[in-house]
Symmetry: C2
Subunit: 622 residues, 2 copies
């Protein structure tokens, strides 16, 4: 029996990392939003590593923040450690990474949701979607509530027909013994969605009291206060260290000797795992010449002794897991608290989505997060935010917001998914972005705040500060370009101290800054600003001047691409009717239905010659 549960603009199914961003964005944009989740005690739960950020992912977190999302603010409030990675390298690969207090992270996020206007968080299990004429109309829960809405976002993560596997044991389950979501998965299949079976895994957790830290290397957080969010002004100063240790020959022998008991090799696991997040047994098999692998020991929070053993993701039987731990320096006497395991789940084939994350099959139905074939909290959050934005804009009869590959890692991620699909859990890597030098950690605000403000997620006050910052950067660059520095004693001294080649003649301060050895600080000692320049303005000035050449080269490529992006293709183009396109390309194009010539060119199986035909066809007015 079902009853009328209420009318909403947007319904979000799930309160994982995708769901919380989707719900918050939608509600903040004024859409009356309902968020349903299986267990209110596990909102924004981290079933795997207690950390946020890192290469590529960290930049996504900054992008989420620039667009008005929550992940950055939430981790700024709840981390136990924060580190900038690759500080010695160029700005394109720098990335912030935080260790989370897993429990506080959840509670903080839940509270933010509870305090958000237009947003109703409720425990409930969705079992069906209400669909009429291929349009979404609402959802029905296990308790019989029929909630109606114009847009629905599915963010069910690893719960769809979830199955936990370790050793020869397998049972239906969501992450960490939570309930799986079975009926909804069958229902999606009945609605005609093509699904795939993926799997991911997690390592054991151990009791920190039983670790011999003396045998490991300490990994402290940064001394410099850092934040993901551009809004954060107060910083957590008491950080906890992580610890580094390694596997060794004994570990590897043990694993090799037990491969026959691994469900991955016995054929018990059907789902495809993430190549870039391999289990330890995978690593041993695939890189069998490597004498050791890194193992990071990461506390799960301030008020717990549970420690996450990063690098040891496994679905080997529990007894083997005990033995493996014992072989690792520092863990000889460790007491395991939870075993590692693999989880198999259903995901939908993401080429069934438009770049807005709306499904092609059912209007108003969006999907985001792990259900779209990705893995990772940040990937989930980025998609959740975009789905939330676009679901709300759909209700408000506004055009979808689509980020392109040159604007954001989020753009790369979504374009990859909807254009190429994925045959394993997709993880964002810097190598997936062709414009890495543009998609930096430091300039996420410059790239996206404008858009965040336009859609109503960045408040005016923050936007005004942003506009001022942008102006200050421009002004300072101009000033340095105009200020001429003579090759006098003082200049020579600065240059020499920095270990740079002697100055021969007067040059602009900007020219001087281009020298690799010289920093903004050096140069402004010779050309001091009249007003105080903020550190983040200075950082931008330095990067923009130093890398001007590379950056403008990438910008030119982007411009060229943008022309192709602007050549739109109709959603309903009949590829079968276009002569001259190869059969495989034709089928792929008909499946993906790209929205631009540029997107068409990225569809796998589509060759440049096919693109040319398409171009001609479109230019001839079809």
């Amino acid at each position: 029996m079902s009853y009328h549960g209420g009318e909403f603009d947007v319904i979000v199914i799930g309160a994982g990392h995708a769901g919380v961003e989707a719900g918050l964005a939608s509600a903040r944009m004024g859409a009356n939003t309902l968020m349903l989740t299986l267990n209110l005690d596990a909102v924004a739960y981290m079933p795997c590593n207690p950390s946020v950020g890192g290469p590529a992912k960290g930049i996504v977190v900054r992008e989420i923040d620039a667009l008005g999302g929550e992940m950055a603010r939430n981790i700024d409030k709840t981390h136990i450690q924060m580190r900038m990675l690759n500080t010695g390298k160029g700005p394109a690969v720098r990335a912030l990474r935080a260790q989370a207090d897993k429990f506080t992270y959840q509670h903080e996020m839940k509270q933010t949701i509870e305090n958000t206007e237009n947003l109703l968080l409720r425990q409930g299990m969705v079992e069906q979607l209400i669909v009429e004429d291929n349009k979404i109309r609402g959802v029905v829960t296990q308790t019989g509530a029929a909630y109606h809405a114009k847009s629905v976002i599915v963010t069910t993560g690893t719960y769809l027909r979830g199955k936990v596997i370790l050793g020869d044991l397998a049972y239906e389950s969501g992450p960490n013994n939570m309930k799986p979501s079975v009926n909804l998965s069958y229902h999606l299949q009945e609605l005609g969605f093509e699904m795939v079976r993926f799997k991911t895994g997690t390592p054991p957790r151990v009791n920190g009291q039983t670790i011999d830290y003396e045998k490991t290397e300490i990994q402290p957080g940064d001394d410099i206060p850092r934040a993901f969010s551009y809004e954060t002004t107060s910083f957590i100063t008491d950080q906890l260290p992580c610890w580094l240790t390694y596997t060794n020959e004994s570990t590897h022998e043990l694993i090799n000797g037990n491969l026959n008991r691994s469900p991955m090799y016995s054929g018990m696991i059907e789902g495809t795992g993430p190549r870039y997040c391999p289990s330890i047994e995978d690593k041993i098999v695939r890189f069998n010449d490597k004498p050791r692998h890194q193992i990071f020991l990461e506390p799960e929070g301030r008020n717990t002794q549970e420690v996450y053993v990063q690098g040891l993701s496994t679905s080997l039987p529990e007894d083997v897991q005990h033995e493996i731990l014992k072989t690792i320096p520092g863990l000889e006497n460790v007491r395991m608290m939870r075993p590692g395991y693999a989880i198999e789940y259903d995901a939908i084939v993401p080429t069934q989505l438009w770049p807005s994350l709306e499904t092609k099959k059912i209007e108003g139905l969006f999907t985001a997060g792990q259900i779209n074939g990705t893995s990772g909290y940040e990937e989930a959050a980025g998609q959740g935010l975009m789905a939330g934005i676009n679901a709300a804009r759909k209700v408000q009869n506004k055009e979808a917001l689509i980020l392109d590959r040159s604007e954001a890692y989020i753009g790369v991620l979504i374009d990859d998914l909807v254009t190429k699909g994925t045959n394993e859990p997709y993880r964002l890597l810097t190598s997936r972005a062709e414009y890495r030098l543009l998609l930096r950690h430091d300039n996420a605000d410059l790239r996206l705040t404008e858009k965040g403000h336009n859609i109503g997620l960045i408040p005016d006050e923050r936007y005004d500060a942003f506009v001022n910052k942008k102006a200050a950067i421009v002004a300072e660059i101009k000033r340095l370009e105009k200020t001429i520095i003579k090759a006098d004693e003082e200049a020579k001294k600065v240059v020499e101290e920095a270990g740079s080649a002697p100055m021969k003649e007067a040059v602009s301060a900007a020219m001087l800054l281009k020298r690799p050895e010289l920093t903004y600080d050096h140069v402004t000692r010779l050309a001091p600003a009249t007003e105080k320049i903020d550190a983040d303005v200075a950082e931008q000035v330095e990067i923009q001047i130093k890398y001007e050449g590379y950056i403008s080269k990438q910008m030119e490529q982007v411009e060229r691409l943008r022309k192709m992006e602007n050549k739109k293709l109709p959603e309903d183009l009949d590829y079968m009717a276009i002569n001259g396109i190869a059969t495989e390309a034709r089928q792929k194009l008909a499946e993906v239905r790209p929205l631009s010539i540029a997107q068409a060119s990225r569809v796998s199986g589509v060759n440049p010659s096919d693109v040319s035909v398409l171009l001609v066809y479109m230019e001839q007015g079809q």
Copy 2:
């Protein structure tokens, strides 16, 4: 496939309120202890009201503390509000009650466990017990770990074949959508345990932001700092209020009109519910002349907007729950976050236990908590503590610690269970204790610290302080008995001010204190102590002097009873061979196998004449 998981002295199955006390006590007594639980994120989880204490239950918490248990310390560290109930009434009914921060309560308890020596907390689902020759040998988990031990304590709460029910919906589940424990229940039945099916229920949770508190009455915490534990010295000062509102005619009409949809009346619920913790539909039906029922709105913690609607426990369908909430002042526009529900589960018939909580059938196997047919966190914790103590003592070849009915509410609870059994979830009430005036909130330490110290759970330092306190009480009573107060001006003034009848002649300070209107403070104004007397010593002195008459009368009764308690009965007495006992009594006695004449006399169906026969039989040396 199973593997050898390790040797322990004691294994505790479950980390609910019974399990955590059992594990901590056992480990602290030096037994190498393993504690297994389904989900490490839900240690000491409160599936129902976020509160600890109250009438009878609050006294149990103090008793747990006096014996060296954890509940009191844990709630002292994590409450959001603390109140002494019935301060206007006599000392026997005073009781402390705290609102818990549900999440902090869990995390604090988990951390205490993680930091305890000899105690290993591990996630795992026990599916079988290892039994040889009717002796427990260990347990086997779902992941194939066979852990061996000399004692095993089962504390599985409401998880055994748990089934959530609301409206016409029913599904296998533990509390709040957690996994149920199915195989272990069948296994216990296979081992020959007689099981019963009980049920309990919980009310909806609502978002505090949507409550109109103006329409409710505020219930602040006490201004005076209070604590459950005798060890607590620092107090939480920023308390949160609760709020009081009421049901009304519309609520009652609505419920009456929907009784046909209630699973309790449709016959869908088979389990027996707790009479003293009725659902709202039960209250409406059973007390249908009552125009209104109290509803307390209790925050679930400091960092959440979830509010527990105490008094509205229900398994009515979700849509009816929404409607019910709307009828209540202050909740007209409330947003429900989780619906209420009932849960059915298997419990074992507790007459299958010795007073030590060891099962009669399998040596070394103990059970404690909701599995024994009780309901309530405190009842669970009290049993858990005793089972932990006795399991450890068993391993150490020491005699079981058994509290009698005059020593502790815990004694009353366990004696009731093992002697009388229960045909509904058993809840502790002050009316269950015949020596209420002895089993006070204020004297739990005097009653039990000695025992706690003897068994090794109360450290010497605390014990020494206790001995000093006891001496100070005795000395101060003596002093007041000896100090004569003349009927002079000053005395007359004090007596008159207190509104007591005029003094006619000189009396001892103790005699004066017996007057109902006079307090220890009044009397010591006239007979000041030479040294500073601690407030808790003063409290004891006052109570012991004031209620001396009643107390010594109860003590006499206790002495009489104790004689009967000291007349031991052998465990294996063949009741069938004793002539003159009525058939029903004989069967009951054979089932319960009481350990003393006193216990035999409390077995239901056993009459005084049967007891006389038994006495004669025993005195004649059988």
